[in-house]
């Protein structure tokens, strides 16, 4: 895949604080990459540097192989859509789209025809004569995107475009945006703090924390093989369960003792004996009827009823464990017996906070 964008050792300092630290990233042509991280991690700053509004203190920004650090935002041929879309509310949809084409340099005569084509492409044809201010959110997103994409940017940057929207609209718009991006083969960099958005839409996800990229991988990799504790806990809804465990590392085997009695075995892994963490996803925990080998007891404290599924909160090892299950009648206080799906748990080193990969986990009899 051709590289569309390459960031090489970018940094930026604001009033004594490192907002972005030695960041490197590549984005392929036609790829949808999400920059995911909590507020303040530096993702918006990074976007600002790519767009050209914030000059980096160090490092190179390359688009299609050429260095663009010195170029103004207009010269970089980048499309930008921000949180509030900035659709011109007093102008018609036609005028909005026309604006985008005008920026591209189309003369008036050709523009009229081009606007119609653009509207058709983005399913806006029936809305052409509506005022910008009268549109609903989904329509506004399409207008904002159409207007920006009309300029045929090399790269489309989106900065948390959906954070102001109600939850129900977001889900629908996600799918629409992704479909659109694929049909146009547009290269997109999407900044967000919502892991569900990042996982659902992207070809690859770059997780950021404190100005640095912690892991870049496909959504599947990020979810099933997170590099460290931060990524593991940040990704996933409901969030990962962190269970304290006692590891006894031998020459040939590793024994992981869980609170409540169960012991798991695997081959030798690079981890020191001592207290560490076992990360278990809520849907990888099984409810078993009685005390089977490997099962641990945990009294039920809270139930979250989402209609199609329940998330149970059970007390275990001094904390609440989240378990995702099929709806059934349960009573608060009842004793549950839990088993962890050994294929997918994560062994997390307490000191380095890195996820330690292992081959196969077995329950001790």
């Amino acid at each position: 895949m051709m590289t569309k964008l390459k960031l090489s050792g970018i940094s930026k300092r604001f009033s004594g604080r490192d907002a972005v630290r030695d960041l490197s990233l590549t984005l392929g042509r036609g790829e949808f990459l999400s920059l995911l991280g909590p507020s303040g991690c530096g993702k918006s700053t990074t976007l600002g540097m790519i767009a050209g509004f914030i000059p980096p203190d160090a490092g190179d920004i390359l688009i299609d192989g050429s260095r663009v650090n010195e170029l103004s935002p207009q010269q970089r041929r980048i499309g930008l859509v921000l949180q509030d879309y900035a659709v011109f509310t007093s102008l018609t949809v036609r005028a909005n789209l026309s604006f985008g084409l005008e920026v591209k340099g189309l003369k008036r005569g050709k523009r009229r025809y081009a606007v119609d084509e653009l509207a058709r492409q983005f399913d806006l044809f029936d809305l052409l004569d509506r005022r910008g201010g009268s549109l609903n959110m989904s329509e506004m997103q399409r207008v904002a995107l159409a207007r920006t994409l009309a300029t045929e940017p090399e790269l489309l940057l989106l900065d948390e475009p959906m954070s102001n929207l109600d939850a129900e609209i977001r889900a629908r718009l996600r799918g629409e945006l992704r479909q659109l991006q694929k049909s146009l083969a547009q290269t997109v960099l999407y900044v967000t703090h919502d892991q569900a958005e990042a996982l659902s839409m992207s070809d690859r996800v770059a997780v950021m924390r404190d100005g640095e990229i912690v892991q870049v991988a496909t959504p599947h990799e990020i979810y099933y093989r997170p590099a460290n504790r931060f990524v593991a806990e940040f990704i996933g809804d409901p969030p990962l369960n962190m269970i304290p465990c006692d590891v006894t590392a031998d020459v040939a085997t590793t024994a992981i003792a869980l609170p409540g009695g169960a012991v798991l075995h695997t081959s030798a892994v690079p981890i020191a004996s001592g207290r560490h963490w076992l990360g278990v996803r809520p849907h990888d925990i099984e409810l078993v009827a009685e005390a089977l080998p490997g099962a641990v007891p945990a009294p039920l404290r809270f139930v979250e009823n989402f209609g199609a599924r329940h998330v149970l909160h059970a007390e275990y090892a001094g904390d609440l464990l989240r378990i995702e299950v099929v709806p059934a009648a349960r009573s608060i206080g009842e004793m549950l017996h839990l088993r962890f799906s050994t294929g997918r748990v994560l062994l997390i080193d307490r000191t380095s906070e890195r996820v330690v990969p292992f081959r196969q986990l077995e329950v001790a009899a």
């Binding site: 109600d166 939850a167 479909q179 959504p219 979810y223 989402f306 199609a308």
Partner: protein, 367 residues
Amino acid sequence: MSTVAVERLRKVFNKITALDDVSLAIGRGEFLCVVGRTNAGKSTLLKTIAGLYRADGGRVIIGGRDFTLLPPHKRHISLLFQNIALFPTMTGYENIAFPLRTANVPADAIERRVRSIGQMLKVEHLLNRLPRTFSGGEQQRVAIGRAIIQPGDLLMLDEPLTNLDASIRIRLRIEFKKLHRELAQTIIYVTHDQVEAMSLSDRVAVLDGGRIQQIGSPDDVYHRPVNRFVAEFIGSPPMNIIDADLSEFDGRLSLIGTGFSLPVEESEGQRWRQMKLPRRLAFGVRPERVIVAPGPTNDAPIGAKILWVEHLGNRSIIALRMGEVTLTAVIPPNHPLNADLRAWVGLRPEPHHLLSRETGVFFQLAS
């Protein structure tokens, strides 16, 4: 804590009716979530119950007393505002102590209470600092401290998690459940996120355009929505609502839509006939009830085109085009399906998920 009753509450601003004939009854110690879109009237409802707005009609009755004309400082209600509203010139301590100070509680008692709340909410390190130095989550917790320090008849929370990052929201949500259990207070919690509402409430009140659409337990609003709005609002992804015509051929009922046909089971047919359904109607199917298979099967006989697939780790959301209709389905992870492939779907419309196309109201089963 008390029972709360709102009777036919009405509030009009200029020409806009924000609350239109709203009635609610909340039991002692109940956790009620009011959920709806932005500008549905949720904040207005809370502020009117609190006394910040004077109702244009209807009554507010708390613990048996009519509060409608009582000024806010005489009601024993706590309200946590959407924009938090911590007093910027006062420290964390002073903010939390505020309700006790205005009630003239002696200083040593105040000290004790504030310290204990500070510990519970983990904000001890913020007590000597000013709000502008707090992070979003910290501001939230201090505001909660201020709201709960003097237990009143009612605790109201206006979108407390909306301004926080998604990851913090998910984790803080359970704290409200814990808080509710510990305080044993009557709570009204307002949000636009139906996931929060489902997770936290004993009962959910769905509000739209200033009118209550439905009040019920999470199971009620999810499995037995009263109208189209509730069906499409609750659930992520929301219920699929599909137009179809009911037709009878050879003694068998079926639903015919644009590009598909769904026969109704013989055993069900009797019940359907009893409902006296019109010919033109619509039916709803929850996404997790849509059966999707990579090849045609008995359960999934209808061909469809996959529009997009979202892999969320613990499940996948698929959008399919069945004839002229777009369907959303939820399936377990680890499947071979991807966009632009063909798949086969199966739907089984339930009789209590049939609704009128004109009114959007679900037909009631004959009892």
